[in-house]
Symmetry: C2
Subunit: 489 residues, 2 copies
């Protein structure tokens, strides 16, 4: 199954083609599955995404969430209960209508869940009785399915994707608002601090909220071609869900109240697309050590005569690294491939650290260490291999994140005219700060005139400038907010 | 959400009612989801099943398997490619036929996967080219969906269940046969050694094989009511799948050959039913330490005056147990509940070890340890708490397994007449060894006459007795094999 051929395109020259090649040649996904919009996720990507799941789930559990598994099917009557929600999702639903060898019609159509609010909240109404039952913080990992028309791109967009959805319930709006802040912090602690992907959180404009939310806060990252990719979003829900599904509790005064709810949806498969895109280079992937299926690959260098001696030593080093550091180490013992071929293979796969060992190294009681991100190569004493490998991995993790952060900052710009906005989006991409009147129509016109530039919303944590006298970049009416515009995936 | 009420039935008196109560009161599953055959799996069960997944996945990966995520939908044309397989599964398939808000008909119906052979093997034909690509050993974790008519019982049987399916490919039949043996070993190393559930592997008779297999080997455990529950099965597939999907490789002589395949499917949600049933008692669950979401619960005993001092000490002990032993520890700090209420609560939940600490314990520099399985209670010095907790958990794990093994052995019997067979199955249940002619018709008659006793097949590893002169227990024709008969779930 080993692909021997490297990438034939440079990332900076043609990102789209680079992405296609790296997904295929590093064996991340196969797009040849014969249902439109569905792809196969291959082991190298799955192992990394499982580590991403681990990081997210640890973080959620540490903050009091518990895992749950709800059915993947939602009866049409549930799905239709909340008016805004059904309007927002109806176009994207796959319907199960029959079953069995006689194609027996089901009594009621079943939606393959596009998201689980309408699966979960009916049960919440049974579980929640009193203020003592709150807060209730549950999440589930798994797939959702959305029948959407946009072109399929593995990890970026497909009709089946992998995520976590967390659904939390509170007695007060204040607690729900605090949860939304906690979700953003969870995103930082994982997506940025462990996966090395920079992003900013925006409060989405009214016309771009989640179906059934008061406020939607979504993280955007910037891809190498200057377009943004939406990452996790968290939503302060209106009480309409609670009313539709009867989610009520008795407060301390025995008075019945509707609950306040939030939901948060980090899409692991999509975040993986951002990881691939942020860190990779012209040789292939570079996976941050925190989520690399293999953190250290050992490539033995030998001929038939020296084979056994070299492998004995290499296995010792592997065992030592695993035992002392808990590292994920692979020793590439495959015969019939040259060391050079193996170097290329593991570089394409993005393993952050390589250790080479041959007969002369053994004699000199050393190994050669090569960092994937910088290509830096040095001989180190075997006795120090563990300490230096640990330091190297820490450095790779830090440097990858720093480099990505720096690139991200350079893609943040401002414009005061449509002409400047258009030019920046055309020439450079990235995010462009403009003043905006707040009208959806105006956002539509900006989109049309900039070949797809969408209003991402107001930047969280950014102090709004004094808007007195400022005009909307498009319609010139008084500005309601400073927002960012970007072309999106 | 805390249920305060304990079980109102004894396990030995009415196992079925006991199971229903423990599932509800320990908050393992909720059967009130409004789609027939679908249930919600609640956090306490999910956390334990996640630990079961971990154990199984670690074992599979150590044996060279890699994880993969295939689509949950299978186009009808794939699904129908292998004749035996489609015959076996057609009656159990949910069909997706339309999508979107206009109920647009899909070009082709999509099966919600009941199992993934027909999703995976077409892709295998693209990935496998040469003997160098073999063996290929992949697995995926996730749900499958089966439209079946039997009554829903949480974990035991529902229309959506959670499993791992591993699909392996080899150059020779010999290697495939060795894989089947490895799968049985994997089952022992997890289901028995970590989950404490005893079972035996049977080679299923011809009429009860997996659709598309040469041989099916399935593990059966015995439930407390004497009926057996099928646990993981592993299948030596015929080459018909390889032929239907074109899975071929060039051997070392450049000759094209069809591959040999196996598949193995441990159903985690069902194995959990066996865990619940094997170990629980009249107070509720007892979860083996290896897969207990909480291994040690600390219950502080205090009044308002002593509260702070006791909690400080309890938190210290918790931190020490977590840090030194990596144990999963919960300190129940909830106010408004008596210690007695908390004891009952955690006993119902099946936490294997409880530590109590109050002001007098602090004075005496001790804590009280209580084993869930035996109820054994003793004071131990704080300084020894870690060592003794570790030993206690090891002992609970071992004793639970031993007790289950012993109960299982007592349920293995023999019969030489239909009358004896009927009597044993009616009075005691369990597995009964009989001689059998090998005919499916005869198995049907045995089933009819024994109120559901099915032929489980020949016991793996058991030497077949000399059958000369032996007659089938039912038809009295010459016996072809010694097999076991049992009533099943």
């Amino acid at each position: 199954m080993a692909e021997q051929e490297g990438l034939t395109v440079k990332k900076a020259d043609n990102f789209s083609e680079w992405y296609t090649q790296v997904v295929e040649k590093a064996e991340l996904s196969d797009i040849r599955y014969n249902v439109k919009g569905f792809v196969v996720f291959r082991p190298w990507a799955v192992m990394s995404m499982e580590l991403m799941y681990d990081a997210l789930e640890r973080e959620l559990q540490a903050k009091g969430h518990k895992p749950v598994w709800f059915p993947a099917v939602i009866p049409e009557s549930n799905f239709s209960k909340e008016a805004e929600h059904v309007k927002g999702f109806a176009a994207e639903v796959f319907w199960i209508t029959e079953a069995g060898s006689q194609n027996e019609k089901l009594e009621e159509r079943l939606a393959l869940r596009p998201t689980s609010e309408t699966a979960m909240y009916g049960m919440y109404s049974l579980w929640i009785r009193s203020w003592r039952d709150l807060p209730l913080k549950l999440y589930q990992r798994g797939q959702v399915w959305r029948y959407e028309g946009k072109a399929t791109r593995p990890f970026i967009r497909s009709r089946e994707f992998y995520w976590i959805e967390s659904h939390d319930v509170f007695a007060t709006r204040g607690e729900a608002e605090a949860q939304v802040t906690e979700d953003m912090e969870t995103t930082r602690a994982t997506v940025h601090d462990k996966f090395g992907v920079p992003f900013l959180f925006f409060q989405r404009p009214e016309h771009d909220k989640f179906a059934g939310a008061i406020h939607t806060y979504a993280a955007d990252t910037i891809m190498p071609d200057g377009r943004v990719l939406q990452l996790p979003s968290t939503h302060l829900l209106s009480q309409d869900f609670a009313k539709s599904f009867g989610v009520k509790f008795k407060d301390k005064d025995e008075k019945e109240q509707y609950v306040w709810q939030t939901c948060y949806g980090p899409a692991v498969s999509r975040i993986f697309a951002a990881v691939v895109s942020a860190h990779g280079d012209d040789k292939g992937l570079i996976i941050p050590p925190e989520i690399a299926p293999t953190q250290i690959v050992i490539v033995p260098i030998h001929n038939d005569q020296t084979r056994d001696a070299v492998l004995v030593e290499a296995r010792k080093i592997k065992a030592d690294l695993e035992k002392r550091g808990g590292f994920r180490v692979e020793l590439d013992e495959r015969d019939g491939y040259t060391p050079g071929w193996k170097f290329n293979y593991w570089e394409l796969k993005g393993v952050p650290l390589r250790i080479e060992i041959g007969p002369r190294d053994i004699e000199a009681k050393q190994v050669v260490m090569v960092r994937r991100d910088t290509g830096e190569k040095k001989g180190v004493p075997v006795a120090k291999a563990f300490v230096l490998a640990k330091a190297a991995l820490r450095n790779v993790q830090r440097e990858l994140t720093k480099r990505a952060d720096k690139g991200f900052k350079q893609q943040m710009r401002k414009a005061t005219t449509m002409r400047a906005l258009k030019e920046i989006l055309r020439e450079k991409g990235g995010m462009v700060k403009v003043a905006w009147c707040g009208e959806a129509d105006c956002a539509d016109m900006i989109r049309a005139e900039t070949d797809g530039g969408t209003v991402r919303g107001t930047l969280l944590g950014e102090k709004q400038a004094d808007l007195a006298g400022r005009k909307c970049v498009y319609c010139k009416k008084p500005a309601a907010a400073e927002v960012y515009v970007a072309r999106q995936y």
